[in-house]
Symmetry: C2
DNA sequence: ATAATAGTGTCTCTAAGACAGTATGCT
DNA sequence: AGCATACTGTCTTAGAGACACTATTAT
């Protein structure tokens, strides 16, 4: 969001807000996300990332922030809430040279690293996709979040060999250009055994 | 610690306390640990694990807890602080059937899982050992934290092949029974590439 | 002598890395 | 026709799993 009030008026900042009585912090995060961006809390993956508690991180006084990583498909166009002059989605990958308010640069970087790590060890990449998706869709998630290109043959072998990662629907996707791809949905597996390696990241031509 | 005051008087609980003005939470954790157990904050590995924020988790009112995992060698005998009738170290591995105060059972379980996961992906097992240690010492860390037995030949091959995990000192350990083992110290590597696998945990006779 | 720990070497097997061509839809 | 995406298969290589014996110390 672009902040409408001091401090850091005019700077971009992550959405957030204060916890209310009787609320767990996860509920606070989901509520603020929905209020400020319109992302509904259904079909939303939400994971706690870290706590930021430097005494002087907010010039107004002592504020301790707990950050959450949210993953959801089909993002709605955000509308600016009360404390923002504008709200939008930004690509985080090339650069991350943004200048965010407070220590939000650090918070964003930690969350991005968490997302990248989760893609290695869990099946959470499917949370970026809709109900059904092709293997090509899933590969695009990995390539964008990791910022690399991957070999499609090896990628296909990997995701189809891990038990419970993907469940085939009988359907195919029609409409776009190219040969229609088989549609899958998220399987029951939560963790990836063995992990999806991102050590040797080779570039595809 | 065994609690000396209500609520949960007489129950065991993890050490902890409230944050003070101008303190980062990591400093709070280190301070409370030292006050209540005598573990000094030098040579201490401290890592944030999670936030616990259920509105009714403390019957006295709204308390949000941030938990930390601490790893240190050569633990001193703890002395009970002000709010405890006794303080001691407990083995966490066989059972974890403890009945801790508040939601500390959950906190402990999350921290244990974090420690186990860190042993897979980082070189932090060395933080359980003193300045110098043998490969047998290091294997014992893995076996105790993971609760398994490992093949010493494969373990040795692994830890010596990962670059920067161990740095050889010229020394050997003398004194105990058995052939003296070569002493190593922690190397510069922080992450384990590839990871130390704990998937197939076989039992050694 | 016996027990306890340290150290060495090989075979197998799983899975990742590299790599090219065919198939099927759209415009 | 040309383009875009989907799909199939092989060789190589890195590294984990399983496994037995010798070496060196303390008691």
């Amino acid at each position: 969001m672009e902040r409408a009030t001091e401090p850091f008026r005019g700077s971009k900042a992550l959405p957030g807000g204060f916890v209310e009585d009787g609320e767990r912090l996860e509920e606070t995060a989901a509520r603020e996300l929905e209020e400020e961006t319109g992302v509904s809390s259904s079909r939303l993956y939400l994971e706690q990332v870290g706590v930021y508690s430097s005494p002087d991180r907010d010039p107004r006084g002592r504020v301790i922030t707990v950050s959450y990583l949210a993953i959801a498909p089909n993002l709605p166009t955000p509308e600016a809430g009360e404390e923002a002059t504008s709200a939008d989605w930004y690509e985080v990958n090339p650069g991350l040279s943004t200048e965010l308010a407070f220590d939000h640069d650090l918070i964003l970087q930690d969350a991005l690293e968490r997302a990248r790590s989760r893609l290695e060890h869990t099946t959470i990449a499917t949370a970026f996709c809709g109900e059904v998706f092709t293997i090509g869709d899933l590969q695009r998630v990995y390539e964008i979040v990791w910022g690399v290109s991957m070999d499609s043959r090896n990628f296909r072998r990997k995701v189809t060999s891990v038990d419970g990662f993907l469940e085939g629907t009988g359907e195919k996707r029609n409409g776009g250009p190219g040969r229609p791809g088989a549609l899958y949905r998220k399987g029951p597996a939560q963790v990836l055994h063995p992990a999806m390696l991102r050590s040797r990241m080779q570039l595809e031509s």
